[in-house]
Amino acid sequence: MEDRTDGRNANQLRPLGCSRTILNRAHGSARWSQGNTIVLAAVYGPKAGTKKGENPEKASFEVIWKPKTGQIGKQEREYEMILKRTLQSICLVNVHPNTTTSVIVQVVGDDGSLLPCAINASCAALVDAGIPMKHLAVSISCGLMEEGSIILDLTKSEEEKLKAFAYLVFPNSPLSVIDKVHSSKEEPIEHGIITSVSYGAMPVSGYFDCLERGRAASAAISEFLRRSLQKQSSEDASRAAQ
C-alpha cells in the first residue's frame, strides 16, 4: 500500500476544526475545516412564506452555494440540490410549516472532500440557529484504490488520481437512555445512511467496503461534533447561569 502524499495512513482523517456563531448578522453560522478544505455556512430563518412549488404544510429549505472563485455553474447547482435534500431529511419539517430557511455556503478553501465539509458545516450552522432537527448528519469521503483498499478523507490530488470515490453522509450516534438490550431488534440509528454520492465506477463489494469504513470513521467525527457543541454551550451556559 503506497503512502499518501501528506503522510497519513489509510484510515486517518485530516485535523478537524469547527467554530460556531462567527457571523454577526446570520441567525446561525459555522465554519468547518478539514485540513485545507474550509467551508463557511450561514443560516437565516425560519422566514415566513414558501416558494412556489413547495409544500406549504412543511418547512422548506433553500441552499445557495458560493464557490471560492469563478461563476456559478452546473457543479454548484448539483451541490445545492444534494445539500438541500440532505438537510431536508435531517430536519423536522412539521414544526414550522409554511416557512423557508436559507442556508448559504461559502467555500473558503478547497483541497478535496468539499461536499462532505459543506454538509458538516451546514449541519453545525443549523444547530447554531436552533432549527429543530431529528439528528445530526456527519459526512466523510472514501476513495477506492486499485488494489481494493479504502482511503478516507481525500485531498484534491487524491480525488484526481483515484478511479472511484464516494461522499457518504451518516446520522450521528445519539446518547440514549434506552437500554441497548431493549432495542437490539432494530438496527442502531448509526447504521442508517442519509446521502451517498459516488464518482467513477467501482465494484459492488468495493462500495460496501467504503460504506463500512466510512461508517466507522463517522463515529469519530460525530464525537468531535458533539464535543465542540458541548464545549461552546457549556461555557456560555455556566457563565450566564452564575
Partner: protein
C-alpha cells in the same frame, strides 16, 4: 422508592448538554405518569428526543425542557415581548417579534379599547406586549393588556433606545433574584428597562450618556459570571463619574 430509582436511571442526562437526536426519556418505562415537555423536546412514538442543542433541565416533578439561546424567537403563550409595528390593517397591527411569522395585535386589545379610540401606531413603533396565541401553524397573536384587561405597563414605549440580544441573555435579565449587572447599575444610575423574551431590550434614562452606559453594560454581560458582571459595571460607572 421504585418510582424514584426508575426516574433516576431515565433522566441521567439532566443538566448535561444534549444534541439533536439524543433520546432522553423512554415512555414505555414510565406508565401512568404525566410529563410536561418544554422547548427543544419532541415525542417520537415511544421516546422523547431532543430537537435543539442545549442543556437539558428538569423542574421537579415532571417538567423537562432544553435550555438554549438563539438569535430568533419561537413564540410561547404568556411571554412578554417587544415588537415593532410593520403595518396597520383594518382590525389588527402586524408586528415583527423576531419569530418565523409576523404577529397580529388586534386594534381593540388595549385597556378601554373601542372602535372610536384606536391607537395610531406608525410603522416602526416599539410595543411591549404579551403573547396570547401561539401555535406553530398560525400567526401568533399579541395583546397590550394583562389577563384581567388592565394596561399594566403594556403598550407603546416612547423615547429610550432598543437593542437586540439573544433569547438567553433576555432570560437571564428577567431571572430572579435580580440579575447582577442590573443591580450594580441600579445603585448609581436611575434608568428604566423593558426586556422582551424575544431577544429585544429597551433602555431609557434621563441623559443619553446613561442610556449608552446601561446598554453597553447589558450587552457585555452575556457570558460573564455574577461577580464579573459587577466588576464590569463598576468599571464603566467609574469612567462616567470621571468625565
Amino acid at each position: 422508592m421504585d418510582v424514584d430509582t426508575g426516574n433516576m436511571t431515565q433522566t441521567n442526562l439532566v443538566d448535561k448538554v444534549v444534541v439533536p437526536g439524543d433520546v432522553v426519556l423512554d415512555l414505555t418505562k414510565m406508565e401512568n405518569q404525566t410529563i410536561k415537555l418544554g422547548s427543544g423536546l419532541h415525542q417520537d412514538c415511544d421516546y422523547i428526543s431532543v430537537m435543539q442543542a442545549g442543556k437539558l433541565r428538569l423542574s421537579k416533578p415532571n417538567k423537562y425542557w432544553v435550555e438554549s439561546s438563539q438569535k430568533r424567537y419561537v413564540p410561547r403563550l404568556e411571554d412578554t415581548v417587544l415588537g415593532i409595528v410593520v403595518e396597520h390593517r383594518s382590525d389588527n397591527f402586524l408586528v415583527d417579534i423576531k419569530a418565523p411569522n409576523l404577529a397580529f395585535l388586534p386594534v381593540l386589545a388595549f385597556e378601554g379599547g373601542t372602535r372610536r379610540n384606536i391607537p395610531k401606531f406608525e410603522t416602526g413603533t416599539l410595543i411591549y406586549a404579551r403573547v396570547v396565541k401561539a401555535n406553530g401553524i398560525m400567526n401568533p397573536e399579541l395583546s397590550c393588556t394583562d389577563a384581567s384587561g388592565k394596561a399594566a405597563e403594556f403598550g407603546q414605549l416612547k423615547n429610550g433606545y432598543m437593542f437586540e440580544t439573544s433569547t438567553g441573555l433576555a432570560r437571564m435579565l428577567l431571572s430572579s433574584p435580580t440579575c447582577p449587572v442590573l443591580e450594580a447599575l441600579g445603585k448609581k444610575i436611575s434608568f428604566e428597562t423593558a426586556v422582551g423574551l424575544n431577544g429585544r431590550v429597551w433602555v431609557n434614562a434621563s441623559s443619553p450618556d446613561d442610556v449608552i452606559l446601561v446598554s453597553n453594560a447589558i450587552m457585555r454581560s452575556e457570558f460573564l459570571s455574577g461577580t464579573q458582571q459587577r466588576i464590569m459595571a463598576e468599571k464603566l460607572l467609574e469612567r462616567l463619574q470621571k468625565s
